[in-house]
Symmetry: D2
């Protein structure tokens, strides 16, 4: 699994031009599930270098390498000796960019404090996703939404800092599959049932007693996000660039938890804006290429959407790691007796669905000149 | 878990009147997953007694107690010493009723041979479900469909024997929840995504390597059954009683396999024939009572549909065994942004969804005088 | 699963004579994993009736039926309307016997307070297990150890109350299998590796992320208990009846956690005190019968140890529920290249290994006149 | 996960000198679980190139890329267009080395036919492991055992071909941990209980119904292998170089199956030949370096044995992929109340325990001049 397909090409001269000096980044909530993914994905990143790791009070002062690492045998060497610091802007935060893996209980205020202090904040938390002046961004879907940052700074009196958010993990993979359909045919209705991985609940998260030999058909707040976030993502920047106009799509979601470690699976039915053949729909998905692919961003998947034709794919186990775990895999594309077409998709929830999403957003904004 | 709630009442005088002498029954395919459930459920049955167990060639001649029993510590005592015989009608089949747990590769012909030889066949196999003259029966849903048996006998030249089938496991639980809605409001569209237990594939069935930490979004032939069988079940007997008129409902199904041992879970959206409030829909589900409950059949659940109000129910682990594992549990009832209402249901797939379904069918037909 | 095999016989006149009036019992820690097992096992108990349920501060005042029940669809009807009270002796604790499912953080003091206030305390917590004057009791193993209660009362100045403990779940099943060997041949060395169920850690307990597709080779404090508790259990009451003389046995334990819901499995090698043939060892296990079986106590398994001869048994899934989940199942008995014999055992950890153990202790002490 | 740590160094000039031209290799049984691991590990191998893939009759003639690949999203590109051929020596087998992933039902004869035809056969099957003239080889343990190949060729009349085997997956990891102890202190007794992954049984292998929420305490033939293979591995070549003298060690094994996808875990107690402190034992494990590390073989782990000090390690999930999944991770080292010391080890069963073991053997034999 190489998370930087284009960075490798770059050695041959084809990747996006990076910064002259590595950009220093910090991580808010660096010891949690998503925080550890940030650390893992930034290890060896061609543009960014982790200089600061923040945690909650009871971990402050510890070596990062002494905390419980749950992704593989060992903490990556480059961060092992960093000391965990308080999640407050200050001299210890010797960096320009901050990735936030904070829980929603305290993400809102902390992220604002950092943005006000001049940091560029890329947040995985839900707190600011619905703010009128905060971009909810997927580089393949709505790269131009970053234009609203100007209004955000003006309105909030921030000079250099800003907040950019990425969507909920279930939303990201859904919208990656919907975007090419929306572009090609328009999109009117989406009905989705998700089967989500336990890692989505963080650590300790889901008790083993709740999920071994079981399905839990409810995830608090999840369906609301899946029903609303895509409208902002597939919408447009308002004329005065002060906010967003949501797309006129209706979505109905049922979100469930299954005994899978990583990768959410979604059963999706869609109604399109204009008639399209199965071949046209397949072609739209298969040929989808977008800004990060054109820009050759380091963490961009070569193919953001992979369409498979086998009868029994996608499967979270087999398809979650494809393209550096940054792609969405779609399969079982066929007509639906109720809406127009239906399919199943799978995607890695803590990489493309969380930490990787924030990092790709930062790569985009660097290329756009915001960093 | 008492599978005979009404039989217990019966001691107090309120259950359905049973036969004067126990009815002898045989089991075709007695060593498979569903075959073992037949054995388990018929242990201590107030009306039926197992006299004959049939298996494939390589097991014929063995003691039933010497085969690999996978449901609990030990084979029930009453069948331990029965000898496995060939699945061919003959003197060894000293019984009136035959339950079929055969795989579809050979169920079709064997069941016909038994019916032709005068046995009353209750089949769990798919082979005859679509036959125009064979009832596809759920006692709570279409108890009158048994009337077509007369035409079946006439058409096939069968004297005493007949074939009655029960639906696919996923269909049964879906239709148990749809029936009260269809009766009360009419039903136009149904969109369902299932998360099915591994026991549904029999034994050895699903390899562990395919399902630990995974979801398999495909089950061969399953979606076709779920999209067609409910139409026959919710349809009506044709005027000349020679067959069935399907209900004009459109269904779209996506069937997936998850790491659950027993009980299928289904995420369902429905469009009704006429407007109804959430309260009316809830009341229809909650108050559903049907023929087996009126007749007090021994294997009938007291409530065929259990409606739960907790945010995170139903769950296969918690809800599969309710009412002798013969009920369907519905929860998360709420409005749907695309169709009218949506809900999640769970039900035991090898009891209510298979062996228990056949046994309840036999109980109904005894009460109707067909046995 | 009937937890009262002898109580059923009792209707025919053969069970142990019970109390004239049901004995009122309370449960300390009634909402936890083991607490729920107490509730489940006491539902319909022929001797005991639950009158009081105690919980921690934040649940006090709630209806028991409104707390999250995780064992099956619904809270048993008889306790649904009990109100949770504080774990402090007082008028609300209108009962004679108290079962403790408290966590060890606060079990010690609370249990002492109840004993001092005159309650007969049967504890599942580890706090008092090693106390010199507190019996650590398995009715099949050391029923006479209750004699030390007199010294306990005298030494602590308690009048009517006392504390009796049951061992750790892993110890109980191990010692049930060791006891017949110790009686017949003497026991010198025991080497055991356990594979323990997640329910042993309570709720929420083991995170799903720690155990799906994994084994955790460590359980805090468990090995120490398994290495020491059997010595007290297989030891004897001291001559002056003030305490216990441990058995001179050496035990080495490795305890691991596996992805099983209920029932611990243990791989055991033993060195005996005198030579014995495989047949003699098998006979000792198979014919083991002890005080609870002779007394026909309501919760006693008919066979405390079940010896199976199949190559692939015991298995937690198949063998945990045998004999009301109160038996230990042993299999794979064979010679060991290092010690004398080896075998594998399985037993239900929250029934026989916890709540059921305490209840059987209370039944024994009633029969002995201590209640 | 880079399976070739030394090959990378090699670019810097420090790896073992490889062949001038890539050595052509074929794979017997290329579509099974271990066969797929061979394909995966040989993708990009610095010395070997896969030219031929063999399978059973019903797959012969198919494209390799059209068979069901179960390790990740897609079959590695370099073998996608190879055509599956019969497992018979002949023109289609245009290679010098043959890796065998055949099942034991037919591995014996096929491997002999290939060796007789001049192929160098590296077998993962058990058939020839006990042959007096066939090396059972782990490069870190007994690299000199290859000397017996001369006698093998002489005795069997083989000219260029030979058979070299690698041990059973459970044995390999056990012996990697035992070897440094045997070298430093002598080894007298070993008592081991394994908790093995489902991938060890191949595909389809273990049914999901047998292992979800369960432990199966038996694996046919496994304990015999674990009790005997280490004696040959830790033994020596006989004086006349015609065979082997087993080491005088006694081993007792219990092998169980748990719900883990990959990596076996083993709980081990050992009695040493001479007294040693815990520090000495830890140092022996930690400092273990052997022939493949000295030779800088491409697939060799930098550290063949990794000793961890955390209380709850090793864990199959976290430790299986370390060092290209070619290392054995040991933890929980402590004194044993019965033998001298005990510990827990984990290692990848289909990489280091199977395909990777054969490949490392081939690398060693190339360096030794046998290829």
């Amino acid at each position: 699994m190489s998370p930087f397909p284009f960075a490798q090409n770059q050695r041959g001269g084809v990747g996006a031009p990076g910064p002259l000096m590595p950009i220093k980044v910090g991580i808010l909530g660096a010891t949690g599930s998503v925080g550890q993914r940030f650390i893992q994905l930034l290890e060896g990143h061609p543009w960014f270098v982790v200089t600061t790791v923040g945690a909650s009070d009871r971990s402050v002062g510890k070596r990062y390498g002494s905390t419980a690492w749950r992704l593989s045998a060992d903490v990556p060497p480059s961060v092992r000796n960093l000391t965990l610091v308080d999640c407050k802007p200050g001299a210890e935060w010797d960096c320009q960019v901050v990735f936030s893996a904070l829980p929603s209980e305290n993400a809102g205020e902390i992220e604002e404090a950092f943005a006000a202090a001049g940091y560029k904040v890329f947040s995985n938390a839900r707190n600011h996703r619905d703010d009128l002046d905060v971009p909810l961004l997927i580089p393949e879907v709505n790269p131009d939404h970053s234009r609203v940052i100007a209004a955000q700074r003006a309105g909030r009196g921030w000079d250099e800092g800003f907040i950019v958010t990425n969507p909920n993990c279930t939303t990201i993979h859904l919208v990656l599959a919907l975007k090419p359909l929306h572009d090609a045919f328009g999109l009117k209705k989406v009905l989705v049932t998700s089967m989500q991985a336990v890692s989505g609940a963080g650590y300790p998260g889901v008790p083993a007693l709740d999920i071994i030999d079981n399905v839990v058909p409810f995830i608090g707040g999840e369906e609301e996000k899946v029903e609303s976030e895509p409208l902002k993502l597939l919408g447009s920047v308002s004329e005065d660039e002060s906010g967003f106009v949501p797309a006129p799509i209706r979505i109905s979601a049922t979100c469930t938890r299954v005994a899978v470690r990583e990768a959410h699976t979604e059963s999706v039915s869609v109604e399109l804006g204009r008639p399209a053949t199965l071949q046209e729909v397949a072609a739209a998905l298969q040929n989808f290429e977008a800004e990060p692919q054109r820009l050759l961003l380091p963490s961009a998947p070569v193919r953001p959407v992979i369409l498979r034709s086998e009868a029994d794919r996608p499967q979270p186990l087999l398809d979650r790691d494809g393209e550096g775990a940054m792609a969405t895999t779609v399969g079982r594309l066929r007509t639906c007796n109720i809406l127009d077409y239906k399919f199943v998709l799978t995607g890695h929830n803590t990489i493309r669905g969380a930490a990787g999403a924030s990092i790709l957003n930062a790569e985009l904004l660097f290329t756009q000149g915001w960093i």
